[in-house]
């Protein structure tokens, strides 16, 4: 069954085989994403600790993670880390992928949180003080409820980006749709149909997600009183 031409017969033969990996691809995406959402908070929190040296270290660790290809990070966690004496730990492919991609994307997500927090008007902090909120309640009741909703569209975009990066995990043996397609290709010496299927699956899942996020964005923009904020910024000035 080998030919360089498109065959529908092979297409329908490959389809169920490739689809076996769909659960893994989606599951890994969701797990990585949740991990990144949580770990993003860790970065945001660490960067707010008012110690110059510490702040500098955290900033550079984030910069390092972001400037290194996720594929290299995956390989490092999966192949190199176990070889480090003392702290080396051998992790399975799935766990390695969650750690690698999760941490990589958490640095971006941490930045999104930060931009959300910085967009909250300074007057809100002053009002929280005037009403004597505790630091914890100030964050829980005043800052985060205003900082997070506007970041939802951006966070959604990162979900799609991450979904598209998850096939990297096939290189360390996570049996997602890409690995299944490659396996099918190797076994049958036919890559055209299975890889086309992979592309179609990504399109079928990414596109509706993107439309959904666009809708969310419009909803978020109308929810907040942008006009008042702009006016406030124009007038500005204390005293």
């Amino acid at each position: 069954m080998s030919s360089t031409y498109w065959s529908w017969e092979r297409f329908f033969d490959a389809l169920p085989f490739v689809l076996q990996g769909l659960g893994m691809t989606v599951g890994l995406t969701i797990t990585c994403y949740l991990f990144a959402l949580l770990f993003g908070f860790v970065w945001t929190f660490l960067r707010r600790i008012p110690n110059k040296a510490f702040h500098w270290i955290v900033t550079w660790v984030m910069e390092f993670i972001r400037s290194t290809p996720p594929l290299v990070q995956l390989f490092f966690i999966y192949y190199a880390w176990p070889m480090i004496p003392g702290i080396g730990v051998t992790l399975g492919p799935f766990t390695s992928a969650v750690l690698g991609l999760g941490i990589h994307f958490s640095t971006y997500i941490g930045e999104i949180y930060r931009s959300g927090i910085e967009s909250v008007d300074k007057g809100q902090l002053e009002a929280s003080k005037a009403l004597n909120f505790s630091t914890f309640d100030k964050w829980r009741k005043i800052i985060l409820p205003q900082a997070l909703p506007p970041t939802i569209p951006m966070l959604g975009n990162y979900f799609i980006i991450m979904f598209k990066e998850v096939p990297l995990a096939s290189t360390i043996g996570v049996a997602g749709i890409l690995l299944m397609a490659n396996t099918y290709g190797a076994q049958n010496w036919a890559y055209l149909e299975p890889l086309t299927i992979v592309g179609m699956i990504f399109l079928a899942l990414s596109y509706p997600s993107a439309v959904l996020i666009k809708k969310l964005e419009v909803k978020m923009n109308t929810r907040f009183d942008k006009k008042a904020t702009v006016e406030k910024a124009k007038k500005g000035a204390v005293m």
Partner: protein, 257 residues
């Protein structure tokens, strides 16, 4: 007269190289209504912002009900106050801001209820009753479920006052509360302040450009000029009998417009 509830003792404040306040001495007595007037940039707002703990004095002491606000004792030495100390001392102080600073993600009623419930841990039903009462008092009895973005500036500022009042402060600070309003909305806000000044027994400090209004309701008027209180006394003492030239020029400029 009773013991002062707030005392400023030789308070200085600089922003970088700019000296904004150069030695403020001031007593605020319970129930006293004080108006702070003076040219822009004279440091009026900074005086009350330091009391609300929004700015830290560069030097000097602010004593609230016998406790030093910005300093605390730690193993025999006076050190910079911790956030915990500030929270304890500022509990009886409330503030209304120039730009309202309502919480945009909460309804009007929730704006008024949030602090008493979460900060003072008061009973929710009692707080609701008081919040409803206050909102009715400021003329917004029909807006409980509206969000701040749906209100006019004057209405927002009245909500901000209700929100501060529900906390039952002993001292209320008003920071140019009508400056950000369209002229036709100023009156409704001043009416509420007049009502509070007449019927509530809390101390009030108003930083304002509404000269006639301030002189009308204030027990004591302070004229602040280049970081120093150069005149203080009753409205008539300050306005009619002062020979301070800069004060006269300042008032003259206001009276003309």
């Amino acid at each position: 007269m009773t013991e002062p509830i707030v005392q400023y003792r030789d308070v200085h404040k600089s922003f970088g190289d700019v000296k904004v306040l150069k030695g403020i001495n001031l007593d605020i007595h319970p129930a006293e209504k004080i108006a702070v007037i003076g040219p822009s940039g004279s440091g009026k707002t900074t005086i009350i912002r330091m009391l609300m703990t929004l700015e830290e004095p560069t030097s000097g002491d602010i004593i609230v009900d016998g406790t030093n606000l910005w300093k605390m004792e730690k193993s025999g030495k006076m050190v910079r106050a911790s956030e915990k100390h500030l929270r304890e001392v500022r509990g009886d102080i409330g503030m209304v801001f120039q730009h309202f600073n309502l919480f945009p993600h909460m309804t009007i009623l929730d704006n008024c209820m949030a602090a008493p419930i979460h900060v003072k841990k008061e009973n929710k039903e009692e707080v609701r009753e008081r919040a409803v009462q206050m909102l009715e008092r400021v003329g917004l009895g029909d807006k409980f479920d509206s969000y701040p973005s749906q209100l006019s500036g004057g209405q927002k500022q009245r909500v901000a006052m209700a929100r501060a009042l529900v906390m039952r402060p002993k001292i209320m600070l008003f920071d140019e509360v009508t400056s950000a309003l369209d002229p036709e909305l100023v009156g409704e806000v001043l009416e509420v302040i007049r009502d509070i000044a007449k019927n509530d027994d809390m101390a009030m400090v108003l930083v304002t450009h509404e000269m006639d209004f301030a002189l009308d309701i204030a027990d004591k008027v302070l004229f602040l000029d280049e970081g120093v209180i150069t005149e203080q006394g009753t409205a008539s003492e300050v306005i009619e009998h002062s020979t301070n030239e800069r004060l006269q020029t300042f008032l003259h400029r206001f009276r003309k417009v």
